[in-house]
Symmetry: C2
């Protein structure tokens, strides 16, 4: 079986290696803005990962023994969805709204085979609580530029780690790949040895 | 101010760098078995970190401007305390008892100045749930030798990560240093800039 990860994220690549020592990377050109958010985070993030995976699947035609794993992660707070910040101002407004509050991180995972016999998606939620940050702390954080390219404007493994009071759920889900849920799903599909 | 970390753990050293860019390392020769466990995990782990820190403090006499940070981490499950496993058999019995269950990880942190003016300790608890593991999964895990030198026989950042369903609390506390609580305490003591 050839495994293909449909994600350009280095964090996801590093995490997937803990479950699958060998896999290829094929990044999809799918335009995420085509998927509308209709109020259900779980459905939305699964639709994103499914669309990404299907766009990569098209590149493999009907090849046998090719399994594509797609993943997407979003942050949800008070009914608003945060993807990757466009710029510092955008990151600043995300961090300001998360300061002192719980928010939810959702990852969608899709596991689909190029031959069409497997097509499975699920989502995982982890709740995260930021401490109440001062203006100086927020500016210090924004100065690190660690917000760039990360859903919600932070990576839990990075410069924001000292500001995070508590999480409930899978830590690796917040990093971008829910390891335990993915491992269990691959086991159930009888894909792991 | 000179900071001294009283711990040989590379994980703690790496984590502390996220709060304090510069510090020295001085490892204590304190014999942990001298501290009896009397049923209160929090009191026990604070006594361990306090004893470690005081034993390092003795090396600095009454120097001004030296602050020692000591830390210790234990795992507690069903009234039993797990430290570092002595051997594979010991690790095996720890993992077997944690499989499919929640357990608690406690870190004690002590912040003491060589001149005796600061002497503060606190503890942080994080709950961790392992998935129900098969015998094969436990053997695979033990084969990685990742259990060696780690309280409870696992490091959440390592080979066990795919078996962990959920945590409640600070992830970094499970790694050995509760970043957010330490950061807040140093801030309250007016030690950070």
């Amino acid at each position: 079986m050839r495994f293909v990860l449909a994600s350009a994220s280095e964090r996801r690549q590093e995490l997937l290696r803990r479950i699958l020592p060998e896999y290829e990377i094929m990044v999809s050109s799918f335009d995420e803005s085509l998927v509308p958010y209709e109020g259900d985070e779980s459905a939305y993030v699964m639709e994103l990962s499914r669309s990404k995976s299907h766009s990569v699947r098209n590149l493999y035609g009907g090849s046998e023994d090719v399994l594509i794993i797609g993943s997407d992660t979003i942050v949800s707070l008070d009914g608003t969805i945060y993807g990757k910040p466009a710029d510092r101002e955008d990151a600043s407004s995300m961090i300001r709204s998360m300061s002192g509050k719980w928010h939810s991180v959702y990852s969608g995972i899709s596991i689909i085979s190029a031959d069409g016999n497997t097509d499975s998606s699920f989502s995982v939620r982890t709740d995260v609580k930021f401490m109440e940050m001062t203006d100086d702390e927020m500016e210090d954080y924004l100065d690190t530029l660690d917000w760039a390219g990360k859903a919600g404007g932070y990576g839990i493994q990075g410069e924001s780690s000292k500001y995070i009071e508590e999480i409930r759920g899978d830590y690796y889900n917040v990093m971008g790949l829910p390891l335990n849920a993915l491992y269990k799903n691959l086991k159930e599909l009888d894909i792991l040895g």
